[in-house]
């Protein structure tokens, strides 16, 4: 089961390595990670999405995260009401002839067109996981040169 953890930490060097270390030491891959300052510049928020093979192990990881000196709070959003979003950049190969059709796909998904260049466009989508997945599905017939994702961020309702 996928878990979205929101971790408030002291905004200083080394903290990310400590947090990541608790996952990597157990051979757990972090699916997505977003880190940034909060309204308080001494505090950062890490949003970590991880696929827990074993819920008991994840429970232990959460306790150990809490135990890290630089970690202020750990919240698991999984069983709570929350909003999540991710920003996606795409560089898509398209010629003049194909562009109007692509434009429609982008519009339908609510994606923005940021750049239109010779032979390709750059688009942006801010959405939740389901929409992003659907959107990428619709683009399957196009050649996506590059896909850049920010990693998920989440906020409790």
């Amino acid at each position: 089961m996928k878990h979205t953890l929101s971790i408030l930490v002291e905004n200083r060097f080394g903290v990310l390595a400590r947090v990541a270390g608790l996952f990597s030491a157990r051979g757990y891959n972090i699916d997505s990670l977003a880190v940034s300052e909060t309204q308080d510049p001494t505090v950062s928020r890490m949003t970590v999405v991880v696929n827990a093979g074993d819920e008991k192990i994840l429970e232990q990881i959460k306790k150990q995260l809490n135990k890290l000196i630089d970690v202020i709070t750990v919240t698991d959003f999984t069983k709570r009401e929350y909003i999540e979003r991710e920003l996606v950049f795409l560089k898509i190969t398209v010629d003049k002839k194909g562009f109007p059709k692509l434009r429609k796909v982008l519009d339908r998904a609510g994606a923005d067109l940021l750049e239109k260049r010779e032979g390709y466009v750059i688009a942006e989508l801010v959405a939740d996981q389901e929409h992003i997945k659907d959107f990428l599905g619709e683009l399957e017939c196009y050649k996506v040169q590059e896909l850049v994702r920010t990693g998920r961020i989440a906020i409790a309702k």
């Binding site: 930490v9 002291e10 060097f13 080394g14 390595a17 400590r18 270390g21 030491a25 232990q60 306790k63 150990q64 809490n66 135990k67 000196i69 630089d70 970690v71 202020i72």
Partner: protein, 557 residues
């Protein structure tokens, strides 16, 4: 305004923290610190290896309850501390390890004697610091001692670049320390405490299962009060030895892989286990799914990560052991009726006593019994790791906290001797004995020079069987006696002792044990006693790894 260098601030801060003993080894990037130490009232004990310094700081901390401090240079100095830091981490020992680091602008450049110390020690420290600004130094030291010694204690590393040591700033000692993200829970949850008290009142076959946390919290008296008030038998983990007197009628001795048969049977038959400052380690539980099948479990621990980690707990209580036990005692209105339970246990004690073959041969259990007899349980016993250690658990009667110093979680061979040196520094005038094997004593034997030069009259008892005994025992039992790399051809330990300026003795006969021990204990010097013991003596009882606790070898099940 006191303007000081980083090195001066370090030493001044250590003095402010009440440090009077530290162990270490000099090197290139800690020269500024050693220069300050040259005429400081804070004296550093020079070991012969950084690993010795870390273990000595650890032994000092275990014997005194204070924070142990060690100091090394960067690179190899720091990596040599690593085993000692990991050892302290596994056994929750308060320690501050200070490592020199290359100049801040060289960090990450593969400079001479550079290693990424905060990276290397991240998973074996409670916390670590790289000091990049001299203005942070005093506060970091204050925090390091606070973190190391509070909550569940542990080692903290301070990595201090040489240019920070030589930089200058005003020395301001922080009046208080408070870390918003670190606030250990001391008060146990009242509802849970009342529930625990109720369960104890109704229990028919209760067992108190106590660990090192009882010693850390200074809760031995509370354990004794509870055990006596409620007539509950007490079993100790390896780390908990000494927290409850082994000579007490309610003592079951140690439980687990090499525990007593009656402790293991009691756990397996009990209906209520009150675990205090113990962590259900795999050496204690044996096969997890077969552990204590009939018991409800109450678990008191200051560290929430220890609760329900290996074993599902019915009533978790996060809090200080001393405080929580006091509260439970207060809320427990009546003692349970354990008369029949104690009779059953008496039966087990008669049926499955600890035994060894009593004949003319020189057996290690006999030597330890004699040590116990002569010291009346009042010596500080350190051990190495392996058979020497397990025999010392079983055959020495541990009656006081902080008198048993041995590497539990990490199982570090070479720990006992430097730890004995640290304990002796902390407790001058006390008899300190390292019970060693012929294998592990050679892992830090260079510290003979430290002990002799500093007049630390540690006594070393080598139980010499010419084998790496515990591994040999496993090879005998589980690998068809194929003794792969466990036969040792040893140096002459008597001559070796003499070469270092210590006293050496060789004892090969049973009747010579007592006179030799008496003579050694009366000698005001380091004494190495080389006891040539029965080579293939085994540690029993024994629960094979992965078996249920009551499946003991040695005719005990």
């Amino acid at each position: 305004m006191a303007i000081m260098t980083g090195a001066q601030i370090l030493i001044e801060s250590l003095l402010k923290e009440g440090v009077d003993v530290m162990f270490g080894y000099p090197g290139g990037v800690v020269l500024p610190i050693f220069d300050v130490l040259y005429d400081s009232k804070l004296k550093l004990t020079l070991t012969r290896h950084e690993q010795g310094a870390a273990h000595a700081a650890d032994g000092y901390a275990r014997a005194t309850g204070k924070v142990g401090v060690c100091l090394s240079t960067s690179g190899p100095g720091a990596t040599n501390l690593v085993t000692g830091i990991a050892n302290a981490y596994m056994d929750s020992i308060p320690m501050v390890a200070i490592t020199g680091q290359v100049k801040t602008f060289l960090i990450g450049n593969d400079a001479f004697q550079e290693s990424d110390v905060t990276g290397i020690t991240r998973s074996i420290t409670k916390h670590n610091y790289l000091v990049k600004d001299i203005k942070d130094l005093a506060m970091i030291i204050r925090e390091a001692f606070y973190i190391a010694s509070t909550g569940r204690p542990g080692p903290v590393v301070i990595d201090l670049p040489v240019d920070v040591q030589t930089a200058k700033t005003e020395f301001i000692w922080p009046q208080k320390v408070s870390i918003r993200s670190y606030q250990p829970t001391v008060e146990g949850h009242l509802g849970q405490i009342k529930k625990a008290a109720k369960m104890l009142e109704k229990a028919e076959k209760p067992v108190l299962y106590i660990g090192g946390g009882v010693i850390t919290a200074g809760a031995a008296q509370e354990v004794l009060s509870l055990a006596e008030k409620a007539k509950i038998p007490v079993t100790m983990t390896f780390m908990g030895l000494g927290a409850f007197p082994a000579t007490h009628a309610l003592s079951l001795g140690m439980l687990g892989m090499h525990g007593t048969a009656y402790a293991n049977h009691a756990i397996m038959e009990s209906d209520l286990i009150l675990a205090v400052g113990a962590r259900f380690d795999d050496r204690v539980t044996g096969r997890i799914d077969a552990f204590a099948p009939h018991a409800k479990i109450i678990h008191i621990d200051i560290d929430p990560t220890s609760i329900s980690k290996n074993i599902r707990v019915d009533v978790p209580i996060v809090g200080d052991a001393k405080k929580t036990l006091k509260d439970i005692l207060e809320y427990m209105k009546k003692a349970p009726d354990t008369t029949r339970w104690l009779q059953t246990i008496e039966q087990w004690k008669k049926q499955y006593p600890l035994v060894y073959q009593k004949d003319d041969k020189l057996r290690p259990q006999y030597i330890i019994e004699k040590i116990n007899e002569l010291t009346r349980g009042d010596a500080i016993i350190t051990t190495e790791v392996g058979q020497n250690q397990m025999w010392s658990c079983l055959w020495y009667k541990h009656i006081k906290p902080r008198h048993w110093i041995s590497s539990g979680g990490l199982g570090t061979m070479g720990f006992g001797f430097p730890a004995a040196i640290g304990a002796q520094m902390g407790c001058p005038g006390k008899l300190v004995i390292d019970i060693a094997g012929d294998g592990s004593i050679q892992m830090n034997i260079q510290e003979m020079a430290t002990a002799v030069n500093n007049k630390l009259p540690v006594k070393i008892v080598i139980l010499n069987n010419g084998y790496l005994g515990m591994v040999r025992q496993w090879q005998e039992l589980f690998y068809k006696r194929r003794y792969s790399s466990t036969t040792l051809k040893n140096p002459d330990f008597v001559k070796l002792a003499e070469a270092y300026g210590a006293v050496g003795m060789r004892i090969a006969k049973k009747e010579d044990v007592e006179p030799a021990l008496k003579k050694a204990f009366a000698t005001d010097n380091v004494v190495v006693m080389d006891f040539i013991i029965e080579p293939e003596e085994n540690v029993f009882p024994m629960v094979p790894a992965g078996e249920a606790l009551n499946r003991m070898l040695g005719g005990m099940a």
